[in-house]
Every structure is written in C-alpha cells, then in structure tokens.
Amino acid sequence: MTRTSPQGRAEDGISLPEKLPVAITVNGVARQLRLAPWTTLLDALRDHLGLTGTKKGCDHGQCGACTVLVDGRRINSCLALAVMQDGASVTTIEGLASNGVLHALQQAFIDHDAFQCGYCTPGQICSAAGLLAEGRAGSAEEIRELMSGNICRCGAYPNIVAAIQQAMGQP
C-alpha cells in the first residue's frame, strides 16, 4: 500500500515517521501495538493481531466485508486509521460468540443458509449486530435498506434478511 524504497524512505523524499503507540481493546482483550500512521484498523487486525476473520474485500469502503464494531458502532475498518482508534474497544467476528455459544446472528445465518462462499459473511454478521444495536429496522424493507453497505456477490440476500429477522426475534 505504501511505496518505500529499499532505504526505507518514501519515494518522494518524505522521511518515514516513527511508529506510534496504539492501545485498543479487541474482543475484550487489551492490546498494545506500535503502528505506522497509515495502517488501517483492518490491516492492524489482520496483519498485526492475526485476526483474519475480518475480510479485505474492496479496501475502499464499498463492499462492507471489513465491517467491525468500534465502541459498539459498525464501521468500515478499511477506511479507519488504527492510530485514530487509540483507546477504542473493537469487536470482530471472532468476538461475537461467548463461552462456546454462537451469537444469535451466527446461529441464524447457519439456520437460514445465509451465505454461499462465505467471504462477505463476517462483515454481514458484524453489520447486522450493529443494526440490531441501533434498533432502527423493523420490516424487511428497512433491514434491506440499512444492510445495503454489505455486498454479497453470491446473492444470498433473501436468506441474509431472513436470518436477521430470526435474530431480531430472539434478542
């Protein structure tokens, strides 16, 4: 993503900044990182913390595969700089189950076969968890509108909506 010469300097002569300390709580565990300022939250999770459940789809905020919850709100982690999340609490797909029991949304996605290839699924489920917390969706129409930031190229949308409806019935 960032082009550097073998000497460790950016191509146009800007000297590389020192890595910055970032303290974030991820899935309930406090983590201390030192990151370059251009490291996105997505890359921090996947490459620095080994949490590869969160997926890199488009890397431009258009597909929703990278959706995580930051302080309980769903965001696109590919468009968030990790250094700006210092002090935040992050929940990823790895943090939704508790004590070996799947989150209601995870179980509902299985029950309704709400995926085919599965690549968009962690983002769909984290986004749906944010949707449930927001409490703005009641009808299927509203679920579809408020889930429109998550693309599923396999086209599992009807089953995704059904899964979310099931999870909404069992908070």
Partner: protein
Amino acid sequence: MIGFQYSRAQDVADAVRQIAAEPSAKFIAGGTNLIDLMKQDVERPSRLIDISRLPLRSVEETASGGLRIGALVPNADLAYHPLIAQRYPMLASSILAGASAQLRNMASTGGNLLQRTRCYYFYDTATPCNKRVPGSGCSAIAGLNRMHAILGTSESCIATHPSDMCVALVALDATVHVAGPAGARVIAFADFHRLPGDEPQRDTTLQDGEIVTAVELPERGFSAHYTYLKIRDRLSYAFALVSVAAGLELEGDRIKDARLALGGVAHKPWRDPTAETALRGQPASQATFASAATILLRDAKGYEHNRFKIDLARRAIVRALTQAAAGTPQLQSSKKIA
C-alpha cells in the same frame, strides 16, 4: 498511499496553527473519503492532522430558534437526532439517502461538506483531470459522463458534488461556521460550494487554512410539507443521478413559500431562487410544478451520456413537489415509485 506524518490537534486554534505551519497537510475526521482518495493516490498529504477528538460533537439550540450542529457530529447521529427528525425531517431523510449505515457512523458533518466528486476521471490518475491536475484537461466532457453535471458546467469541468446532505442544507438556508488564520466567519450555504469555472480544483470558498467548526440551521424546517427524493442506478447505496430536496409552506392549496434544491446535477448543490419565486403564490398543482421545473432547467445542457438527466430532473422535480404538497415524503426505506 504515500508515507505521511500524523499528529492530533489539541483544540481548534491548534488545528489552525498546525495547518498554517504545513500547508501540504490535511485535516482528518471521519476519513471515509480522504483515506479512499489517499489509497488512490489522488490525495497525497504530507501530514494528517487528526481533529476527530475536538469538542465539536454537540447539537445545540440557538437563541434564534435554530440549531447549531458541531462539525464532528457523525452523519448517523445527526439523521437520528430527535430535534433533526422532528424539526428538519428533510435533512434527516437526505442524510439517510446517502452512503451506507457504516459510512454514516464514521463520516462527520464538516467532512460531508468537503467530500470530493466521484467523477471517474478525478479518481483515475492515469487520465487528465483539471480538478486533480489543473490545466491537464477534462476527460469527462468527451468521455463517459453519465453521472455528470447538466447545470453550471464549464469547459474545464463537468463534475458533480456528491453529497445528499448538502442538498437539504442549501434548501434549508443553513450557514457554515469556519475558523482560520484570519479569525472566524460565517458563510451562507449557497456560497460555500462553487461552480467550476476555470478553477475546478477549488470545490469551496474556504480560504487556505480554514476549518469548518459548525453548521447552523435557521428556525424554519418545512417539516409539514417536504421530501427528499433521490433517483439512482441502484435502489440504495449509490450516488444520485438526480435528487430533489423540496419544502413547501401551504395556505389552503396555495403555495406561500417554497424551497427547491437539486443534487447530482451540478458542481454544487443547485438552488435557483427564480424557480422558487415561480412557485410562490401559485396553486400547488402539477402545472405550477412543471413550470418551476422548466425555469430551473432553462440553461441545462446535456453531454453524450447524461442528456437523459434533463428530463429525469424535470420529472423528479414535479414528483418531489407533489410529494411535499401532499405531505407524503419519500422514506428512504421505501422503494415505491409514487
């Protein structure tokens, strides 16, 4: 993305000082557009000055009966704020018409005003673009211009402003509060964004080193008769081909006052006082609405792929004013064509 330095602003004055000391730096708040543009190599700031922790997150009532919205209020929080939903539902609806739930959680009020065009050629560093590289030429005028402007274009640029929120803000007579090296000032919303002329690299009338601190709404919200109607290629999560913010004040079936602004058609949110004048005092009828549309679109000019927008805009204006008059606004979750 090229390498850059990162620092946090301690307060607004510190933000202004930091950017004055390094003009090639940029402020970052939600980052939803800037990080994307940096990944595309369109924006190459030497430093990001993080303003996201500044205390600009409140929505406060003003002495004159309006609201002052802090520049860092997230788009989602603004759309669902009880006072916005109740007094300015046109604004709430316009915000919910844009982006996705995730992006609305991240994007700030000030950042929404400052987002850049989504013209394909502006994003593609392999092609000429006067907005990205002044003097290099416009690839859109003779290129793929389906999304592009039909009003207020120039020989330099036919890009559109992408915001939905700003269309409602211009219709509602909002003002923009800014701070800068020369002090604080207030800009009328209609004067905040500019037409491309021969300087399409300038989207707004902000001076170097200025920062948006708040957006203020006057008292009148047109909450009884309004709509925000957005026409786009997908049913959700797509930029407008044409959008219409309409607000009416009715006395019986006669129009006492009117607001009408369009998105997706120009380099700025498009509001035309002569079209509003043509509505005032007239019966709230299809004929009146059609006549206002004709006036608003009198200088519209289409290009090879976007000529359809002129007729689309005409129909959208009539439909939006009809919805506003009837008190049946288009809800963003409703995809009905009526």
